[in-house]
Every structure is written in C-alpha cells, then in structure tokens.
Symmetry: C2
Subunit: 412 residues, 2 copies
C-alpha cells in the first residue's frame, strides 16, 4: 500500500505553524509498514483540495488528510471528500449528541448554526470519534482507495490516529516496521558511526543508522517483518552486538530521558543528591525535577552565579577563586564538595564555565566548562569543551553532568 498525507490549512502556508501532523502521521505509517510517497499542504480552498485528491489517488492508495473540519464555512475537507467520492453528507446523531455534551461540559453554549456541521459525514463513511475536540474524523473506502479525514490540532490527531486509524489500517499492511533506539551521551555521531561501521555497513534487515540530536546521539535499529515478534527477533542480536560495543556509553533506550534514567537509579539506590551550578544556571536542577519521584533524593540545588555566593553558600575558598579563577578544576571541586556537605547528601555535582557569547579568552575560551563530582567522600573534577550558542553550551553541559553522575554510580 502506498500512502500520502495532505494537510489543509492556510496557517501552514503562511508559515504561522510548523506541520508537525505530517511528521507524526509519517512516522506512524512507517511503523505500520505503509510507505509514505508524498506529503502536501494546500490552503482552505476546495478547488485546490479536489485537485490534490485527484492527483494523489493516481499515485497512491491511501490519502490521510488533516485540517479543515472546523465549524466555519471555509472548513471544507469532508465536503470535498464527499464530492470526490460522489456521496452526500449525512447527519450522525451520535456525533451530534457528543458535540452537545462537549459544549455543556465546557460550560459553553452549543451554537446550532455553525457547530452542527461537525456532525455531518460523507454517507457510508466510518466515523472516528474525537474525545479531545469537537470535530470527529472519518474514513471513506471505495474500490481500493481510502481517504482518512482527521482534524487539524495535533493534540486531537495523535489519539485519534492511535485509537482508530492504526487498527483500521493494520489489515492493509502485510508487514510491520519496528525500531529500537539506543541513546548515547558523550560520544559524537562520527565516532559512533566509526565504532559500529561494520554493523552499519553490513546491516540490511535490520538496518542500523546513527543520528546526532541536540543533546545526545542515537543509534536506530529498524527491522521489517510480518509480526512484531519476528521484527524483535531480527533486532535482538544486533542490539546485543551494539551494546557490547558501546557498553556504558548507552544511557537508555527509545524515548527515555537522561533525567528519568538517573532519577530512577538515585531513588532505587536511595542516593541523595544536590547540585551547585554556575554556567548551567539551574538547568541541572530543572532536569532532575522533571522526574516526578525526585523529591525523595534531590535535597537542594544552588545556583551560585557570583563569587560571593560560591564563598558564602558553598564554602569555596577565596584563595582558590583568586589563584585559579572561578572557572577552574579547583573551584569545581570545592563547589561539588561544598554543596554535598552543606546539604548533607551522598552526591554533589557542580558546573562552572563560560557559556558565552562574551567572557571567553585564549586561555579559557567560550564553551569551556569544569565540573566537580563529590560522591560518598570522594571528589573529582573534569574539564569539558563545547561548541555552539550560549544555550547549546549550557544544555550539553547539563547532559554531561547528569551522565557523569550516572556513570559514577554504575562504577561504584
């Protein structure tokens, strides 16, 4: 089966919004083993929409549309679909009831003139309920051509796709595509590709591909098979090989975040932690606090931007700051030890560096960050060099800091 995606909305053509629906649906179809051949966007214009349906169905078997299901007269996707398949629009009583209920829940009055339009569908189509909005979707099937009509808001598209479109489309796909992602930190895309070059070159099913993301790098293993179990059987040996090569550099799998991995480790082991941040300015604390259970172990974070705060809060020695500077191994070490001791935690992590854009010198360039790690009585310091904007430097330093704690806990 070949599919394409047709998004309707003048706001996309004006560049007011990014078309995340096209990405979401493409990814989902790829997972179902349905190939996406084409994506397009047209405005709220029924002639151009009809033209696109005609062209699209010459190339493909399935067209999935988003948008144009609103209550206003320029929302015309269902109307145009009905025209293409030569069907009339029929009121669906169930959808009308849901619509009225939705409005009463929101404490708003239901306006018959406009909203009733959202309960009409091309005759004979399968209705796709929308618990997250007022516009249900629908699917029309005729002579091997399938049109699936979804609403515009991404928050409505995702649950509708997962709950109704996926089961509907499964019967049309004889294969599925399954991916497994390994997430790495502290190792670049190039080095990663080199270390796994034999596997990457020789893999056909599953394929192995490295990608650089903003905060980490990933290896994606993708298999094609007729069932999920078969796909996993193909992925499994390659995954084991890759894990042997990369070992501790892999911090997690699929969509897991560094703070979840570390948060779980800390709470499992009941290791308490505190942070003392200069250049990362609170980002380490903010990431840790992303993990809902963190309050058990995260005692305190200090953002000690000034030398004064480093001295008063963390007990960094004035002589250390004078002799080595705030951005130094020595200061990083004293910050980490200081926060751990004053907060009475097992672990203390610190950062001090030059995030830019100003403040750099030949000796201490922008992107230079020292980190300190106190862990159960032992204190170390490390030097890192990042490239990129102020924000990129800070984000990457934050990831490195969390990753360093993770690695140290694993090595205890």
């Amino acid at each position: 089966m070949k599919a394409e995606i047709l998004c309707v909305g003048t706001e996309i053509l004006l560049g007011d919004i990014v078309n995340t629906n096209a990405q979401f649906i493409s990814r989902q179809l790829a997972n179902l083993g349905i190939e996406v051949f084409h994506q397009s966007v047209v405005g709220d214009n029924p002639d151009r929409l009809l033209e696109e349906l005609e062209n699209g169905f010459k190339r493909s078997d399935i067209i999935i549309t988003t948008g144009g299901l609103g209550p206003t007269p320029d929302d015309l996707t269902k109307e145009t679909g009905a025209k293409f398949f030569n069907r009339e629009l029929i009121l669906d009583k169930n959808s009308l009831e849901n619509l009225k209920e939705h409005f009463s829940k929101m404490g708003r009055s239901y306006s018959k003139g406009n909203n009733i339009k959202q309960a009409y569908f091309p005759k004979g189509s399968k209705i796709l309920p929308n618990p997250h909005g007022t516009a249900p979707g629908c699917a029309i099937e005729e002579n091997g051509k399938i049109m699936i009509i979804l609403p515009g808001p991404p928050k409505e598209v995702a649950p509708m796709f997962n709950n109704y479109v996926k089961p509907f489309l499964k019967k049309y796909s004889s294969k599925i595509i399954k991916s497994k992602t390994l997430r790495l930190c502290g190792i670049g895309e190039g080095v990663m590709a080199e270390m796994a070059s034999d596997i990457i070159k020789n893999s056909t099913n599953p394929t192995v591909a490295p990608y650089a993301k903003e905060e980490d790098t990933i290896l994606r293993i993708t298999a094609e098979a007729s069932t999920e179990d078969d796909a996993l059987k193909l992925i499994n040996p390659v995954e084991i090989q890759l894990k042997k090569i990369f070992g501790i550099n892999i911090y997690g799998e699929d969509d897991i975040k560094m703070e979840e991995v570390l948060g779980k480790m800390l709470t499992d082991k009941k290791f308490t932690i505190s942070s003392a941040e200069s250049c990362t300015g609170g980002m380490i604390a903010a990431k840790l606090v992303n993990y809902p259970g963190i309050s058990e172990v995260f005692k305190e974070g200090a953002v000690t931007y000034s030398n004064e705060a480093k001295i008063n809060r963390l007990g960094v020695k004035k002589t250390t700051l004078d002799k080595y500077g705030a951005v130094s191994y020595e200061t990083a070490r004293e910050m980490a030890e200081g926060i751990a001791k004053t907060s009475n935690t097992d672990i203390g992590i610190s950062t001090t560096g030059i995030a830019g854009p100003g403040g750099g010198s030949t000796e201490k360039p922008v992107g230079l960050v020292y980190m300190g790690l106190y862990i159960k009585g032992r204190v170390q310091a490390k030097k890192f060099q990042y490239f990129g904007s102020r924000n990129t430097v800070r984000k990457r330093a934050t990831m490195s800091a969390l990753d360093w704690v993770r690695r140290e806990i694993l090595s205890i």
Copy 2:
C-alpha cells in the same frame, strides 16, 4: 507572483524530522508579499521530483526547493532541475575553491570523487553561496518561471535565504507584508480577543489576530503595503490603540523573550535578584541566566525541594511548614524573604506548588502554585492555578514569576 515549496528528503517522509524549512520559507515569502499556494515533500527520487516540478510550474511562477544537494549519488535536485530546464551541469570554479577551503578549515580531507558534485550547477544559473555548509544553492530563471534550489539543513537555509534569496525575489513583488507582534503574559487568548474585539473585527489592513503560545499569548498586527515605511504607517496607529487597551500586560514586542525584558530592567536599574524555587525546580534561575548580562545582578538561586532545605537555607520556620504546609502563602512569603536576605539582594522571588502528576488533593490540586515576592523590604504572596502536564505547569509558573517581578519593578 505565486510560489510553492518543494522539499526533497526521504527522512521527512519517514517522519524522522519535522519540515521546519517549509515553515521558515513560507513565513519569509509571506513577508515579501509573495503568496505560497502549495507545499510538498517527495523522497530522493528523480522521477517524482520531476513530476512535482511539472505539476508545480503549471500552478505557480516560483518553486523553491530544499534538500538533495548532498555529495552522494542519491542527491539529485540540481540534476533534476537541469533536466526540467533542459540545461547541462557546469563546474563553478569559485565554488570548488570554497569547497576545498571549507574542508581544509575543518581539518578534513576533501574527497574529489564525491564532493566535486557540489560545485556543479545548471548552466546559466545564479549561484547562492553557502558559508555554513558545503552545498551552495542556485537560482534558474526562464520564461517567467523561477526555480530556487536550496540545501536541506535549516541552519544553512536561513542565512542563504536572508542573504541571497530575499534580495533576488524582491524585484518580483510589488508589495510587502510587515508584521508587528505584541507579547502578553497573564492573559488568555479568549480574554485578549474579547478586550480587543472591536479592533480585531474592524481591521482589514492591518489585520489583528490573537494567538495562544505555550508560555504566553500574542497579538499580531499585519499590514500590506508597497514599502516597509508605508506598512509601518498602517501598523502604528493600531499598535498605539492596542497598547492603550493592554497597557502593562504587554511585556515585549516581536521575538523578545521575557528574560531579556526583565534582565534589561534589572541591569538598567541595578536591582539585584535571587530566587528560591520549589516546584519550578531551577527553571527561574535557568531563564534568568539565559540573559548574557545577568551576572551583574543575579546573585544566587536556591532550589529548595525538601522542607529541610527550606528551613536551613532560607530560614523558613518549621512552625510555618507544620501549620500551613510547604505549598502555602506563608511558606512562599518566607522563602522569598529568606533568599533575598541571605543573598543580600533587592529582590527575592519564590515558588512552591504542586506540579503533578501526583501529589494533588481536593484542597491543593495539581497545578496550584504559590509565589512570594520580596522587593526592597516589602514581601507579598500570590496564588496561581495552572492546567496541563508537569512540565507545562512548571513552564507557565516560571513565566508568571518573571512577569510578576517585571510588573512590580514597573510600579515602583
């Protein structure tokens, strides 16, 4: 002039990346007064690319492509463009020199076999230099049809568009579209639309439109005119009217960020600040540190997640925590005063709340946040209720906190 955008890349069809290029170019063309009629995406497949060029040039005068300019054999956009316009590919010596220089700068060796492809262009085309990558773009013009070929990476597309495509296209547009954005905090899209309903309804040129963003709400004033000056003359009176209606609720204009507005206010007035965060967990500090000059005034941030830290670091009274709880007016007030006094700053801002997903109760539901603000000897507390995920609650609370400081400084 009618334009369309044609993005080439299998990774977009697989849903591996979001097509931000289409948005960026659409927005830029809208600003130039050139209407975008259509966006499409095809894979790295010359037949489908050629078909799309043929269809596109029936509808439109300008097609802007992105992607398919890489060094590998499946990168074929220039080749397909040359075929469509029936031209041969010619080596551009200048581009070849730049390419060699680029590789030597990166300390990598230039590989003739592959990379030389990036210095070939359809005969007679205008070359668009790429200082940010190895693939220059080009523009072909023939009988009123214009094809503009850009690379794929967004970081290369934006500067190439701004530096070369914009001046090139200006001659084809007799009008320009100019927007002015007013940014508001603490006021919803609905209320905003209601307060400005007369202006929104009666405006045609400029138009006024309200939008809800994740962290704030905006009002966009958009005018069409033949010059930028004329557009600004149309925008100006409407802008004045809106500023009268919304007053202090407008925190900034266009792409400015809250932390820049507040950072500038604090450094201009030399007001020192410190923060004490519980539920926002470092996000306030991290936002403030986004502003490069902040080190002059931001003395210290404390992330006091535990009651112990609230007591030890900030001097919150144990009796307060016992009697009112950590999430209360009283605790917020003592946190703000505590951080300001121990850091010796003019201002202290604090947050304590329930970010969720757990921890809520009927009395203190998820999304409830108390904030304290100490400013030059006076301390206040406020209650906020947010809706959304843990992360949304924390982001919105962070914006409210910064906005509250901004408003208080203005009222001094």
